[in-house]
């Protein structure tokens, strides 16, 4: 039997700071019976210069990414709503003055899918009936809420896990203050936002925070360490994989 294949775009933040989230994504996809193709030449989607007002410096990277993931017409799975949003929404507009590349970008945009959106109807959650009970606070990233519309699937997925109680913080739809280079260029207001987000997440009473975007996680966990707040920040892929691991079905 030949397996259905998918590409994984691991994203630069996961590659460097959260490789375990990337591995968990691979394991979950394999659990769903898929073969994961991981092109070694992948780097970043090009969002940082694009959002900072330097779109020209992201065009070449976008083209490289488009070409890399167009060798075969496979779905491209991205364990980040932010990077998936960049590909789905901004690649086509970035290529607006080049009809051939625009078309290729459009093609990739249609094949690209955020990880949880892809997994939602594929994972056998009933296997988790015997798993130990878990309480988590869900941080919905702005991209998941307002770009890829994945946030509702994040909530649904956690609801479908019989052993998990997911809590939403107050101001669940407000930004955590990361915003890429915003956190470096407007550090005071960015930190004020992160401080509030941390507080609201901790007020849920959960000790574990889960989210599907590593930018938010990096900012929240960095702030927490620096300010002696104690919680664990996990990528959703890691958290889900861990649950299956606990009942030995990963």
């Amino acid at each position: 039997m030949s397996l259905e294949s998918v590409y994984l775009f691991g994203t630069c933040l996961i590659d460097a700071y959260y490789p375990e989230a990337g591995l968990a994504a691979v394991q979950l996809l394999e659990k769903c019976g898929l073969k994961v193709v991981y092109p070694q030449e992948q780097t970043c989607c090009g969002q940082p210069p694009f959002n900072s007002g330097f779109p020209r410096q992201s065009v070449a990277i976008a083209k490289k990414t488009i070409a890399m993931f167009s060798r075969e017409e496979l779905p491209v799975i991205v364990p980040s709503a932010s990077c998936a949003g960049m590909i789905k929404r901004h690649y086509p507009s970035l290529m607006h003055d080049d009809s051939i590349w625009h078309q290729r970008a459009q093609g990739l945009a249609e094949r690209t899918c955020e990880l949880i959106d892809f997994l939602l109807d594929r994972l056998p959650f009933d296997q988790l009936k015997q798993a130990p009970r878990q309480v988590v606070a869900l941080h919905q990233s702005c991209s998941a809420l307002r770009e890829t519309d994945s946030a509702k699937n994040w909530r649904t997925l956690l609801e479908r896990m019989p052993n998990v109680e997911a809590r939403l913080p107050q101001y669940a739809e407000e930004c955590c203050g990361f915003g890429g280079t915003f956190s470096i260029k407007s550090p005071q207001v960015s930190l004020a936002m992160t401080a509030d987000k941390c507080e609201h997440l901790m007020n849920t009473g959960a000790n574990t925070i889960v989210s599907g975007d590593c930018g938010c996680l990096l900012s929240l966990s960095g702030y927490a360490r620096q300010h002696k707040r104690h919680f664990e920040a996990q990528h959703l892929a890691c958290f889900i994989a861990q649950q299956f691991e606990q009942v030995n079905t990963l």
Binding site: D15, P19, G22, Q40, F50, E147, S186, V189, G222, Q226
Partner: protein, 458 residues
């Protein structure tokens, strides 16, 4: 003080933070409650978006039609290219009428040209009659929000202000009493003012009508009690015909204050006619350009002229929620201000505003006419990047960054280097380090993990 200093000051002001959060919570929840049918809302948003974008493309012809029809209705129409011309025009009218005082309904266009200061220098007293504007004027401040000018103030602040400036003792817990004090002071001024000035929410081109929504009745009084009414509007406020008004009002009032309809809806069709017993004897309409026609000609920014000034973008902006309107230093704060202030108030000073945005798209999500605010802020960032030296340096860094990310081997080396604390420490900017520490990348990257996995499976 530069923008960053003003941000720091605002963030350190705890009572401001509390007042802002409270006001934003209130406005957000009221808006949400007023949208009963989300599907209908989306349909109307789409319709209004198309309509307003059509207006931005046909401004010149619509404004000519508006001028013709307003003139036919007996109004006197004036064109002002910039703030100086608008102020001069209004002063000339005041002089013609030998006016000593003016009452003002709420008008952001008049804030934009700083009319109060200008007229005061020419010995004409301007009295703000919108309660929020009245408070801000009394405190010798500027509005911090386009719809709720005094939302940065608590009831306690207002009671102390009335005590100090009007010698009226007031109970801070009694809102009705506070409003009564304001009303009493303003009523006196209405009786004697020679001129009433107002803004315009929409101007209907094919009827020559001015539409003004408000809740306090001060708009109706400023436009009907004094003998002369001057209306001032940014020239993007024009609409082709009356059929479109209900949709836009539906969106405007819900987005702004969460109201299904405002207490007052004024449709002004010109001065008092011979057989009429009240109303102003003269109505002047000042069409303010002040950078707008340039924006209309600028393909990349034109869509921002679709704005109907509801303020929802600032109400939902997490940055505005924490720093308030004054920190921006521009007439229009928040996301829409970040987009239009460089054009209206000067690029030199205001293009840096675009930095204070986390690209969270809460603004674009609520904009009742579907303006892509984050996209426009991105455009302003790239415009800003072409202006300052620091940005040219940054452009270079991004080229280097791009080069690195186009070469997988170099990228892997750089990533490897970032797993050394010392190197990470050197490369991570201080502004990140001070609040969030030094992130050290993992010993084994995903690339390496996946390469190993592949090897062992082969």
């Amino acid at each position: 003080m530069n923008f960053n200093d003003r941000i720091t000051e605002a963030l350190g002001n705890q009572s401001l933070r509390t007042n802002l959060r409270g006001a934003m919570d209130f406005l957000r929840s009221k808006r949400l409650l007023s949208i009963e049918k989300p599907d209908l809302w989306e349909a109307k948003r789409k319709q209004a978006g198309h309509l307003r974008q059509d207006v931005t493309r046909n401004l010149a012809s619509l404004l000519e039609r508006l001028e013709d029809n307003c003139t036919r209705n007996g109004m006197q129409v004036h064109w002002a290219e910039n703030a100086d011309q608008a102020n001069q025009l209004i002063l000339d009218i005041c002089k013609q009428k030998a006016a000593e005082s003016m009452v003002k309904g709420k008008s952001m266009a008049s804030e934009e040209i700083e009319l109060n200061d200008y007229l005061a220098r020419h010995q004409i007293e301007c009295i703000e009659s919108d309660m929020g504007e009245f408070i801000v004027q009394l405190a010798e401040e500027k509005p911090s929000h386009i719809i709720m000018p005094a939302l940065h103030k608590s009831q306690q602040d207002i009671a102390s202000l009335f005590q100090a400036k009007l010698q009226e003792p007031a109970d801070p817990d009694d809102v009705d009493q506070l409003i009564d004090i304001g009303r009493k002071t303003m009523r006196e001024k209405f009786k004697h003012a020679d001129i009433g000035l107002s803004g315009v929410n929409f101007a209907i081109a094919d009827k020559g009508l001015l539409c003004l929504v408000e809740n306090e009745g001060n708009g109706r009084m400023s436009t009907t009690v004094p003998d002369t009414h001057i209306a001032i509007m940014g020239l993007e406020k024009v609409l082709p015909d009356l059929n479109e008004l209900p949709t836009l009002l539906h969106l405007l009032t819900r987005s702004a204050t969460g109201q299904r309809i405002t207490t007052y809806l004024n449709l002004i069709s010109g001065p008092r006619r011979n057989d009429e017993r009240d109303g102003p004897r003269e109505v002047h309409l000042v069409l303010l350009d002040n950078g707008r026609s340039q924006m209309a000609a600028d393909e990349a920014l034109r869509s921002s002229l679709a704005c109907i000034r509801c303020g929802a973008c600032m109400n939902h902006c997490p940055v505005y929620t924490r720093i308030g309107g004054h920190a921006y230093g521009s007439t229009y704060p928040g996301p829409i201000g970040q987009v239009i202030a460089p054009q209206l108030n000067g690029e030199e000073k205001y293009s840096e505003l675009s930095s204070a945005c986390s690209m969270n798209n809460a603004c674009g999500d609520v904009c009742p006419v579907g303006i892509d605010l984050p996209g426009l802020i991105r455009t302003q960032r790239s415009r800003h990047a072409q202006r300052s030296f620091k940005s040219k340096l940054e452009a270079g860094i991004w080229y280097l960054w791009q080069w690195l990310h186009l070469h997988p081997t170099l990228y892997r080396l750089a990533r490897q280097a970032m797993s050394r604390r010392l190197i990470a420490r050197l490369l991570i900017p201080g502004s990140w380090r001070s609040g969030r520490g030094v992130p050290v990348s993992a010993r084994l990257s995903l690339h390496q993990i996946m390469a190993k996995r592949k090897q062992s499976s082969e």
